[in-house]
Amino acid sequence: MEKMITLWTGSGLFNLSIGQAVMIAVGLLLLFLAIRKGFEPLLLIPIGFGGILANIPEAGLALSAAENAIHMAQPQVLAALGQILHVPYEAGQAVTPDVMQAFKEAYKHGGVEMIAAANALAVDSGYANGMLYNFYTVAIASGAAPLIIFMGVGAMTDFGPLLANPKTLLLGAAAQFGIFGTIIGAALLDASGTMDFTILEAAAVGIIGGADGPTSIYVSSILAPHLLGAIAVAAYSYMALVPMIQPPIMRGLTSAKERAIKMNQLRHVSKQEKIVFPIVVLMLVVLFLPDAAPLLGMFCFGNLMRECGVVERLSDTSQNALINTVTIFLGLSVGSKLSADKFLDLQTLGILALGMAAFCVGTACGVLMAKLMNLFTKEQINPLIGSAGVSAVPMAARVSNKVGLDANPHNFLLMHAMGPNVAGVIGSAVAAGVMIKLLG
Protein backbone atom coordinates (compact mmCIF):
# COMPACT_ATOMS: atom_id res chain seq x y z
CA MET A 1 0.00 0.00 0.00
CA GLU A 2 2.81 2.27 1.01
CA LYS A 3 4.42 1.40 -2.31
CA MET A 4 1.26 2.32 -4.18
CA ILE A 5 1.35 5.69 -2.43
CA THR A 6 4.97 6.12 -3.48
CA LEU A 7 3.97 5.42 -7.06
CA TRP A 8 1.06 7.86 -6.85
CA THR A 9 2.97 10.68 -5.18
CA GLY A 10 5.74 10.18 -7.68
CA SER A 11 3.40 10.16 -10.68
CA GLY A 12 3.15 12.92 -13.24
CA LEU A 13 -0.54 13.50 -12.60
CA PHE A 14 0.17 14.26 -8.93
CA ASN A 15 3.09 16.60 -9.69
CA LEU A 16 2.23 18.21 -13.00
CA SER A 17 2.56 21.98 -12.82
CA ILE A 18 0.69 24.36 -15.10
CA GLY A 19 3.95 25.39 -16.72
CA GLN A 20 4.87 21.82 -17.51
CA ALA A 21 1.45 21.16 -18.97
CA VAL A 22 1.77 24.22 -21.18
CA MET A 23 5.24 23.24 -22.32
CA ILE A 24 4.07 19.70 -23.14
CA ALA A 25 1.35 21.30 -25.24
CA VAL A 26 4.01 23.41 -26.95
CA GLY A 27 6.00 20.25 -27.67
CA LEU A 28 2.91 18.60 -29.15
CA LEU A 29 2.30 21.70 -31.25
CA LEU A 30 5.83 21.54 -32.62
CA LEU A 31 5.31 17.88 -33.51
CA PHE A 32 2.03 18.76 -35.21
CA LEU A 33 3.61 21.58 -37.20
CA ALA A 34 6.50 19.35 -38.21
CA ILE A 35 4.42 16.34 -39.23
CA ARG A 36 1.32 17.92 -40.73
CA LYS A 37 2.66 21.25 -41.94
CA GLY A 38 6.15 20.13 -42.89
CA PHE A 39 7.88 22.70 -40.64
CA GLU A 40 11.59 21.69 -40.72
CA PRO A 41 10.71 18.22 -39.43
CA LEU A 42 14.32 17.02 -39.20
CA LEU A 43 14.89 19.39 -36.32
CA LEU A 44 11.47 20.18 -34.95
CA ILE A 45 10.51 16.55 -34.33
CA PRO A 46 13.52 15.89 -32.08
CA ILE A 47 13.16 19.34 -30.50
CA GLY A 48 9.46 18.95 -29.86
CA PHE A 49 9.87 15.45 -28.49
CA GLY A 50 12.81 16.52 -26.36
CA GLY A 51 10.71 19.39 -25.06
CA ILE A 52 8.01 16.99 -23.91
CA LEU A 53 10.56 14.71 -22.26
CA ALA A 54 12.16 17.67 -20.50
CA ASN A 55 8.83 18.60 -18.92
CA ILE A 56 7.85 15.22 -17.57
CA PRO A 57 7.28 15.98 -13.90
CA GLU A 58 9.69 14.30 -11.45
CA ALA A 59 11.62 12.60 -14.27
CA GLY A 60 14.31 15.27 -14.21
CA LEU A 61 15.61 14.26 -17.62
CA ALA A 62 16.99 17.72 -18.35
CA LEU A 63 18.59 18.21 -14.93
CA SER A 64 22.03 17.38 -13.60
CA ALA A 65 22.45 15.09 -10.62
CA ALA A 66 22.81 18.06 -8.29
CA GLU A 67 19.74 19.78 -9.70
CA ASN A 68 17.78 16.57 -9.22
CA ALA A 69 19.03 16.38 -5.64
CA ILE A 70 17.96 19.97 -5.02
CA HIS A 71 14.55 19.24 -6.51
CA MET A 72 14.05 16.19 -4.31
CA ALA A 73 15.11 18.23 -1.27
CA GLN A 74 16.04 15.48 1.16
CA PRO A 75 17.15 17.46 4.25
CA GLN A 76 20.45 15.58 4.77
CA VAL A 77 21.47 15.97 1.17
CA LEU A 78 20.41 19.61 1.05
CA ALA A 79 22.46 20.35 4.15
CA ALA A 80 25.55 18.79 2.58
CA LEU A 81 24.92 20.61 -0.69
CA GLY A 82 24.51 23.84 1.27
CA GLN A 83 28.07 23.41 2.54
CA ILE A 84 29.39 23.11 -0.99
CA LEU A 85 27.23 25.81 -2.58
CA HIS A 86 27.55 28.21 0.38
CA VAL A 87 23.80 28.23 1.01
CA PRO A 88 22.97 28.58 4.71
CA TYR A 89 20.74 25.57 5.37
CA GLU A 90 20.66 23.03 8.17
CA ALA A 91 19.10 19.59 8.06
CA GLY A 92 16.28 20.47 10.45
CA GLN A 93 15.18 23.63 8.66
CA ALA A 94 11.96 23.86 6.63
CA VAL A 95 12.40 23.68 2.83
CA THR A 96 10.61 26.86 1.81
CA PRO A 97 10.39 28.05 -1.82
CA ASP A 98 12.95 30.71 -0.84
CA VAL A 99 15.41 28.05 0.24
CA MET A 100 14.88 26.14 -3.02
CA GLN A 101 15.41 29.31 -4.97
CA ALA A 102 18.62 30.05 -3.05
CA PHE A 103 19.97 26.59 -3.93
CA LYS A 104 19.03 26.91 -7.57
CA GLU A 105 20.64 30.34 -7.86
CA ALA A 106 23.80 29.21 -6.09
CA TYR A 107 24.08 26.23 -8.43
CA LYS A 108 23.44 28.32 -11.53
CA HIS A 109 26.19 30.80 -10.66
CA GLY A 110 28.68 28.27 -9.27
CA GLY A 111 32.17 27.85 -10.72
CA VAL A 112 33.35 24.70 -12.45
CA GLU A 113 34.84 23.12 -9.34
CA MET A 114 31.87 23.97 -7.13
CA ILE A 115 29.48 22.46 -9.66
CA ALA A 116 31.65 19.35 -9.93
CA ALA A 117 31.69 18.96 -6.16
CA ALA A 118 27.91 19.40 -5.93
CA ASN A 119 27.36 16.78 -8.61
CA ALA A 120 29.81 14.37 -7.00
CA LEU A 121 27.90 14.68 -3.73
CA ALA A 122 24.58 14.19 -5.50
CA VAL A 123 25.83 11.04 -7.24
CA ASP A 124 27.14 9.71 -3.95
CA SER A 125 23.66 10.36 -2.53
CA GLY A 126 22.04 8.26 -5.26
CA TYR A 127 21.01 10.88 -7.80
CA ALA A 128 22.02 10.81 -11.46
CA ASN A 129 22.22 13.16 -14.39
CA GLY A 130 19.12 13.13 -16.56
CA MET A 131 19.43 11.59 -20.01
CA LEU A 132 18.81 14.87 -21.83
CA TYR A 133 21.28 16.67 -19.59
CA ASN A 134 23.95 14.21 -20.68
CA PHE A 135 23.00 14.63 -24.32
CA TYR A 136 23.16 18.42 -23.95
CA THR A 137 26.58 18.27 -22.32
CA VAL A 138 28.07 16.10 -25.03
CA ALA A 139 26.32 17.62 -28.03
CA ILE A 140 25.92 21.31 -27.34
CA ALA A 141 27.90 22.41 -24.29
CA SER A 142 31.01 20.99 -25.97
CA GLY A 143 30.14 22.94 -29.12
CA ALA A 144 30.54 19.77 -31.18
CA ALA A 145 27.07 19.08 -32.58
CA PRO A 146 26.41 22.37 -34.41
CA LEU A 147 29.92 22.23 -35.85
CA ILE A 148 29.54 18.67 -37.10
CA ILE A 149 26.20 19.56 -38.66
CA PHE A 150 27.83 22.57 -40.28
CA MET A 151 30.47 20.23 -41.71
CA GLY A 152 27.70 18.08 -43.17
CA VAL A 153 25.95 21.15 -44.57
CA GLY A 154 29.25 22.12 -46.18
CA ALA A 155 29.44 18.67 -47.74
CA MET A 156 25.94 19.18 -49.14
CA THR A 157 26.54 22.68 -50.51
CA ASP A 158 27.31 23.38 -54.16
CA PHE A 159 29.09 26.72 -54.52
CA GLY A 160 28.86 26.56 -58.31
CA PRO A 161 26.19 29.27 -58.71
CA LEU A 162 28.05 31.55 -56.32
CA LEU A 163 31.33 31.07 -58.15
CA ALA A 164 29.67 31.83 -61.45
CA ASN A 165 28.53 35.20 -60.10
CA PRO A 166 30.64 36.14 -57.06
CA LYS A 167 29.11 39.58 -56.61
CA THR A 168 25.97 37.92 -55.28
CA LEU A 169 28.04 37.51 -52.13
CA LEU A 170 27.08 41.12 -51.40
CA LEU A 171 23.43 40.13 -51.23
CA GLY A 172 24.38 37.60 -48.58
CA ALA A 173 26.15 40.39 -46.73
CA ALA A 174 23.22 42.82 -46.87
CA ALA A 175 20.78 40.26 -45.52
CA GLN A 176 22.82 40.06 -42.31
CA PHE A 177 21.34 43.42 -41.46
CA GLY A 178 18.53 41.29 -40.11
CA ILE A 179 20.89 40.10 -37.37
CA PHE A 180 22.19 43.46 -36.29
CA GLY A 181 18.91 45.31 -36.81
CA THR A 182 17.33 42.84 -34.41
CA ILE A 183 19.89 43.72 -31.78
CA ILE A 184 18.77 47.34 -32.11
CA GLY A 185 15.20 46.09 -31.81
CA ALA A 186 16.05 44.28 -28.60
CA ALA A 187 17.68 47.43 -27.28
CA LEU A 188 14.52 49.37 -28.10
CA LEU A 189 12.35 46.85 -26.29
CA ASP A 190 14.72 47.10 -23.35
CA ALA A 191 14.71 50.90 -23.42
CA SER A 192 10.92 50.92 -23.59
CA GLY A 193 10.87 48.99 -20.34
CA THR A 194 8.77 46.18 -21.83
CA MET A 195 11.39 43.56 -21.12
CA ASP A 196 15.04 43.32 -20.17
CA PHE A 197 17.87 42.20 -22.39
CA THR A 198 21.59 42.23 -21.85
CA ILE A 199 23.79 42.86 -24.87
CA LEU A 200 24.69 39.15 -24.87
CA GLU A 201 21.05 38.16 -24.95
CA ALA A 202 20.29 40.73 -27.64
CA ALA A 203 23.09 39.37 -29.82
CA ALA A 204 21.96 35.80 -29.32
CA VAL A 205 18.42 36.76 -30.30
CA GLY A 206 19.70 38.64 -33.32
CA ILE A 207 21.36 35.56 -34.74
CA ILE A 208 17.87 34.21 -35.50
CA GLY A 209 18.03 36.64 -38.39
CA GLY A 210 20.89 34.58 -39.80
CA ALA A 211 18.23 32.01 -40.72
CA ASP A 212 20.71 29.26 -40.11
CA GLY A 213 19.97 26.60 -37.51
CA PRO A 214 23.40 25.36 -36.48
CA THR A 215 24.82 28.90 -36.41
CA SER A 216 21.99 30.05 -34.16
CA ILE A 217 22.49 27.15 -31.78
CA TYR A 218 26.26 27.57 -31.72
CA VAL A 219 26.12 31.30 -31.01
CA SER A 220 23.40 31.13 -28.39
CA SER A 221 25.12 28.22 -26.63
CA ILE A 222 28.10 30.56 -26.19
CA LEU A 223 26.43 33.91 -25.53
CA ALA A 224 23.16 33.05 -23.80
CA PRO A 225 22.62 29.32 -23.17
CA HIS A 226 19.49 29.99 -21.10
CA LEU A 227 17.74 31.35 -24.21
CA LEU A 228 18.89 28.52 -26.48
CA GLY A 229 15.58 26.71 -26.50
CA ALA A 230 13.50 29.69 -27.54
CA ILE A 231 16.08 30.86 -30.06
CA ALA A 232 16.39 27.49 -31.77
CA VAL A 233 12.63 27.02 -31.91
CA ALA A 234 12.18 30.50 -33.36
CA ALA A 235 14.97 30.01 -35.89
CA TYR A 236 13.65 26.75 -37.25
CA SER A 237 10.00 27.82 -37.15
CA TYR A 238 10.66 30.97 -39.11
CA MET A 239 12.85 29.10 -41.58
CA ALA A 240 9.84 26.91 -42.21
CA LEU A 241 7.67 30.01 -42.60
CA VAL A 242 9.97 31.61 -45.17
CA PRO A 243 7.47 30.89 -48.01
CA MET A 244 4.88 32.91 -46.11
CA ILE A 245 7.07 35.65 -44.60
CA GLN A 246 9.10 36.67 -47.61
CA PRO A 247 6.81 37.09 -50.66
CA PRO A 248 4.81 40.12 -49.41
CA ILE A 249 8.01 41.95 -48.52
CA MET A 250 9.60 41.06 -51.86
CA ARG A 251 6.54 42.27 -53.77
CA GLY A 252 6.23 45.42 -51.69
CA LEU A 253 9.78 46.52 -52.39
CA THR A 254 9.92 45.79 -56.11
CA SER A 255 8.04 46.89 -59.20
CA ALA A 256 6.53 44.35 -61.55
CA LYS A 257 9.17 45.30 -64.09
CA GLU A 258 12.02 44.67 -61.68
CA ARG A 259 10.56 41.30 -60.76
CA ALA A 260 10.50 40.33 -64.43
CA ILE A 261 14.20 41.05 -65.05
CA LYS A 262 15.77 38.12 -66.83
CA MET A 263 19.29 37.20 -65.84
CA ASN A 264 21.98 35.75 -68.10
CA GLN A 265 22.62 32.07 -67.83
CA LEU A 266 25.37 31.24 -65.35
CA ARG A 267 28.76 30.34 -66.77
CA HIS A 268 30.21 26.87 -66.34
CA VAL A 269 32.30 26.56 -63.18
CA SER A 270 35.25 24.19 -63.31
CA LYS A 271 35.95 21.44 -60.80
CA GLN A 272 39.19 23.15 -59.76
CA GLU A 273 37.48 26.38 -58.85
CA LYS A 274 35.12 24.44 -56.63
CA ILE A 275 38.04 22.69 -54.96
CA VAL A 276 39.98 25.89 -54.36
CA PHE A 277 37.03 28.00 -53.18
CA PRO A 278 36.67 26.52 -49.65
CA ILE A 279 40.41 27.00 -49.22
CA VAL A 280 40.13 30.65 -50.27
CA VAL A 281 37.38 31.19 -47.70
CA LEU A 282 39.48 29.45 -45.07
CA MET A 283 42.47 31.65 -45.83
CA LEU A 284 40.34 34.79 -45.40
CA VAL A 285 39.18 33.41 -42.06
CA VAL A 286 42.80 32.83 -41.11
CA LEU A 287 43.71 36.38 -42.02
CA PHE A 288 40.72 38.35 -40.82
CA LEU A 289 38.43 36.57 -38.41
CA PRO A 290 39.90 33.78 -36.29
CA ASP A 291 36.73 33.71 -34.19
CA ALA A 292 34.76 32.38 -37.15
CA ALA A 293 37.26 29.55 -37.49
CA PRO A 294 35.23 26.78 -35.84
CA LEU A 295 32.05 27.44 -37.86
CA LEU A 296 33.57 28.37 -41.21
CA GLY A 297 36.47 25.97 -40.78
CA MET A 298 34.17 22.97 -40.43
CA PHE A 299 31.93 24.26 -43.22
CA CYS A 300 34.86 24.64 -45.60
CA PHE A 301 36.23 21.25 -44.53
CA GLY A 302 32.92 19.60 -45.41
CA ASN A 303 32.82 21.39 -48.73
CA LEU A 304 36.40 20.43 -49.56
CA MET A 305 35.63 16.77 -48.82
CA ARG A 306 32.69 17.06 -51.20
CA GLU A 307 34.52 18.72 -54.06
CA CYS A 308 37.99 17.20 -53.93
CA GLY A 309 36.65 13.92 -55.29
CA VAL A 310 39.11 11.64 -53.50
CA VAL A 311 37.31 11.08 -50.19
CA GLU A 312 33.78 10.24 -51.33
CA ARG A 313 33.36 7.84 -48.44
CA LEU A 314 34.08 10.53 -45.87
CA SER A 315 31.85 12.99 -47.70
CA ASP A 316 29.03 10.44 -47.89
CA THR A 317 29.23 9.67 -44.20
CA SER A 318 29.27 13.32 -43.18
CA GLN A 319 26.18 13.93 -45.35
CA ASN A 320 24.31 10.91 -44.08
CA ALA A 321 24.97 8.70 -41.07
CA LEU A 322 26.99 11.31 -39.20
CA ILE A 323 24.77 14.36 -39.74
CA ASN A 324 21.65 12.31 -39.05
CA THR A 325 23.01 10.94 -35.80
CA VAL A 326 24.12 14.36 -34.65
CA THR A 327 20.79 15.91 -35.69
CA ILE A 328 18.89 13.48 -33.47
CA PHE A 329 20.96 14.34 -30.42
CA LEU A 330 21.15 18.03 -31.21
CA GLY A 331 17.38 18.18 -31.45
CA LEU A 332 16.78 16.29 -28.23
CA SER A 333 19.37 18.49 -26.50
CA VAL A 334 17.73 21.69 -27.71
CA GLY A 335 14.45 20.26 -26.46
CA SER A 336 16.04 19.89 -23.02
CA LYS A 337 16.14 23.69 -22.86
CA LEU A 338 12.37 23.93 -23.30
CA SER A 339 11.68 23.61 -19.60
CA ALA A 340 8.79 25.67 -18.30
CA ASP A 341 10.82 27.97 -16.07
CA LYS A 342 13.13 28.93 -18.91
CA PHE A 343 10.67 29.11 -21.79
CA LEU A 344 7.48 30.49 -20.24
CA ASP A 345 8.82 33.94 -19.82
CA LEU A 346 8.04 37.34 -21.26
CA GLN A 347 11.45 37.22 -22.96
CA THR A 348 10.32 34.30 -25.10
CA LEU A 349 7.55 36.43 -26.56
CA GLY A 350 10.13 39.11 -27.25
CA ILE A 351 12.38 36.55 -28.90
CA LEU A 352 9.58 35.32 -31.13
CA ALA A 353 8.63 38.87 -32.13
CA LEU A 354 12.22 39.98 -32.70
CA GLY A 355 13.03 36.80 -34.63
CA MET A 356 10.17 37.50 -36.99
CA ALA A 357 11.36 41.10 -37.38
CA ALA A 358 14.87 39.84 -38.07
CA PHE A 359 13.65 37.70 -40.97
CA CYS A 360 11.69 40.60 -42.40
CA VAL A 361 14.56 43.06 -42.11
CA GLY A 362 17.02 40.60 -43.62
CA THR A 363 14.71 39.89 -46.53
CA ALA A 364 14.13 43.58 -47.16
CA CYS A 365 17.81 44.48 -47.00
CA GLY A 366 18.71 41.71 -49.42
CA VAL A 367 16.16 42.99 -51.93
CA LEU A 368 17.20 46.62 -51.46
CA MET A 369 20.86 45.74 -51.84
CA ALA A 370 20.10 44.11 -55.17
CA LYS A 371 18.33 47.28 -56.29
CA LEU A 372 21.29 49.33 -55.10
CA MET A 373 23.72 47.16 -57.03
CA ASN A 374 21.63 47.63 -60.15
CA LEU A 375 22.34 51.35 -59.93
CA PHE A 376 26.04 50.70 -60.37
CA THR A 377 26.33 47.74 -62.71
CA LYS A 378 25.17 47.28 -66.24
CA GLU A 379 24.35 43.61 -65.93
CA GLN A 380 21.03 43.83 -64.07
CA ILE A 381 20.20 41.60 -61.13
CA ASN A 382 16.64 40.55 -60.49
CA PRO A 383 16.09 42.00 -57.00
CA LEU A 384 14.02 38.96 -56.05
CA ILE A 385 17.19 36.93 -55.60
CA GLY A 386 18.27 39.38 -52.90
CA SER A 387 15.82 37.89 -50.42
CA ALA A 388 17.62 34.55 -50.73
CA GLY A 389 20.57 36.18 -48.98
CA VAL A 390 19.06 35.40 -45.58
CA SER A 391 20.13 31.79 -46.26
CA ALA A 392 17.42 29.30 -45.13
CA VAL A 393 18.89 27.06 -47.83
CA PRO A 394 17.26 26.09 -50.20
CA MET A 395 13.82 27.35 -49.16
CA ALA A 396 14.57 31.04 -49.71
CA ALA A 397 16.00 30.41 -53.18
CA ARG A 398 12.86 28.52 -54.10
CA VAL A 399 10.76 31.42 -52.89
CA SER A 400 12.75 33.78 -55.14
CA ASN A 401 12.14 31.43 -58.03
CA LYS A 402 8.42 31.15 -57.35
CA VAL A 403 7.81 34.88 -56.98
CA GLY A 404 9.85 35.40 -60.13
CA LEU A 405 7.73 32.92 -62.06
CA ASP A 406 4.61 34.77 -60.96
CA ALA A 407 5.99 37.91 -62.60
CA ASN A 408 7.39 36.20 -65.68
CA PRO A 409 6.47 32.56 -66.29
CA HIS A 410 9.60 31.98 -68.36
CA ASN A 411 12.04 33.35 -65.84
CA PHE A 412 13.73 30.68 -63.77
CA LEU A 413 15.65 32.33 -60.95
CA LEU A 414 16.44 29.23 -58.90
CA MET A 415 20.09 28.85 -59.85
CA HIS A 416 20.68 32.60 -59.67
CA ALA A 417 19.17 32.68 -56.19
CA MET A 418 21.37 29.80 -55.00
CA GLY A 419 24.35 32.17 -55.10
CA PRO A 420 23.09 34.66 -52.50
CA ASN A 421 21.50 31.75 -50.67
CA VAL A 422 24.80 30.05 -49.87
CA ALA A 423 26.45 33.46 -49.51
CA GLY A 424 23.99 34.05 -46.67
CA VAL A 425 25.40 31.02 -44.87
CA ILE A 426 28.91 32.44 -45.07
CA GLY A 427 27.60 35.88 -44.15
CA SER A 428 25.90 34.78 -40.98
CA ALA A 429 28.87 32.68 -39.95
CA VAL A 430 31.02 35.80 -40.34
CA ALA A 431 28.51 37.82 -38.32
CA ALA A 432 28.57 35.10 -35.68
CA GLY A 433 32.35 35.32 -35.55
CA VAL A 434 32.24 39.09 -35.10
CA MET A 435 29.74 38.83 -32.27
CA ILE A 436 31.71 36.10 -30.50
CA LYS A 437 34.88 38.16 -30.89
CA LEU A 438 33.36 41.34 -29.52
CA LEU A 439 31.16 39.86 -26.81
CA GLY A 440 32.24 36.26 -26.10
Partner: protein, 83 residues
Protein backbone atom coordinates in the same frame (compact mmCIF):
# COMPACT_ATOMS: atom_id res chain seq x y z
CA UNK B 1 20.52 56.80 -25.11
CA UNK B 2 20.62 53.75 -22.86
CA UNK B 3 23.80 51.85 -22.35
CA UNK B 4 22.40 48.82 -24.15
CA UNK B 5 21.39 50.96 -27.11
CA UNK B 6 24.92 52.38 -27.36
CA UNK B 7 26.37 48.91 -27.33
CA UNK B 8 23.84 47.67 -29.87
CA UNK B 9 24.59 50.49 -32.29
CA UNK B 10 28.32 49.99 -31.91
CA UNK B 11 27.88 46.27 -32.49
CA UNK B 12 25.81 46.93 -35.60
CA UNK B 13 28.32 49.34 -37.08
CA UNK B 14 31.28 47.08 -36.36
CA UNK B 15 29.40 43.95 -37.36
CA UNK B 16 27.84 45.07 -40.64
CA UNK B 17 31.07 46.88 -41.49
CA UNK B 18 33.07 43.78 -40.98
CA UNK B 19 30.63 41.49 -42.77
CA UNK B 20 30.75 43.76 -45.82
CA UNK B 21 34.52 44.12 -45.73
CA UNK B 22 34.94 40.37 -45.44
CA UNK B 23 32.54 39.50 -48.22
CA UNK B 24 33.83 42.24 -50.53
CA UNK B 25 37.34 40.87 -50.08
CA UNK B 26 35.90 37.43 -50.78
CA UNK B 27 34.33 38.71 -54.01
CA UNK B 28 37.72 39.92 -55.19
CA UNK B 29 39.56 36.86 -53.93
CA UNK B 30 37.09 34.55 -55.65
CA UNK B 31 37.21 36.44 -58.92
CA UNK B 32 41.00 36.41 -58.81
CA UNK B 33 41.05 32.73 -57.92
CA UNK B 34 38.78 31.86 -60.85
CA UNK B 35 41.05 33.74 -63.21
CA UNK B 36 44.17 32.07 -61.86
CA UNK B 37 42.60 28.66 -62.07
CA UNK B 38 41.39 29.32 -65.61
CA UNK B 39 44.89 30.35 -66.66
CA UNK B 40 47.15 27.88 -64.88
CA UNK B 41 45.11 24.78 -64.27
CA UNK B 42 44.83 22.01 -66.84
CA UNK B 43 41.66 22.47 -68.92
CA UNK B 44 40.24 19.13 -67.78
CA UNK B 45 41.05 18.26 -64.17
CA UNK B 46 43.34 15.25 -63.98
CA UNK B 47 41.25 12.54 -62.37
CA UNK B 48 43.01 12.03 -59.06
CA UNK B 49 44.33 8.61 -58.16
CA UNK B 50 41.40 6.70 -56.80
CA UNK B 51 42.09 5.50 -53.28
CA UNK B 52 41.92 1.77 -52.77
CA UNK B 53 39.43 2.10 -49.93
CA UNK B 54 36.89 4.21 -51.77
CA UNK B 55 33.91 2.48 -53.27
CA UNK B 56 34.24 1.19 -56.80
CA UNK B 57 32.30 3.13 -59.43
CA UNK B 58 28.91 1.82 -60.41
CA UNK B 59 29.33 -0.94 -62.94
CA UNK B 60 28.76 0.66 -66.32
CA UNK B 61 26.42 -1.68 -68.11
CA UNK B 62 23.61 -4.21 -67.95
CA UNK B 63 23.95 -6.61 -65.06
CA UNK B 64 23.86 -10.35 -65.72
CA UNK B 65 20.55 -10.82 -63.88
CA UNK B 66 18.79 -8.32 -66.08
CA UNK B 67 20.30 -9.84 -69.19
CA UNK B 68 19.18 -13.27 -68.06
CA UNK B 69 15.72 -11.93 -67.30
CA UNK B 70 15.46 -10.44 -70.74
CA UNK B 71 16.54 -13.67 -72.37
CA UNK B 72 13.94 -15.63 -70.43
CA UNK B 73 11.24 -13.08 -71.13
CA UNK B 74 11.93 -13.18 -74.82
CA UNK B 75 12.03 -16.97 -74.87
CA UNK B 76 8.67 -17.12 -73.11
CA UNK B 77 7.25 -14.45 -75.33
CA UNK B 78 8.31 -16.29 -78.47
CA UNK B 79 6.90 -19.52 -77.07
CA UNK B 80 3.54 -17.94 -76.30
CA UNK B 81 3.24 -15.86 -79.43
CA UNK B 82 4.48 -18.56 -81.80
CA UNK B 83 2.34 -18.93 -84.79
Amino acid sequence: MSDLMTKAVELMVAGMGFVFVFLIILVFATTLMSKVVARYAPPEPATPARTPRSKPPVPPSVDPDTAEAIKQAITKFRARHKK
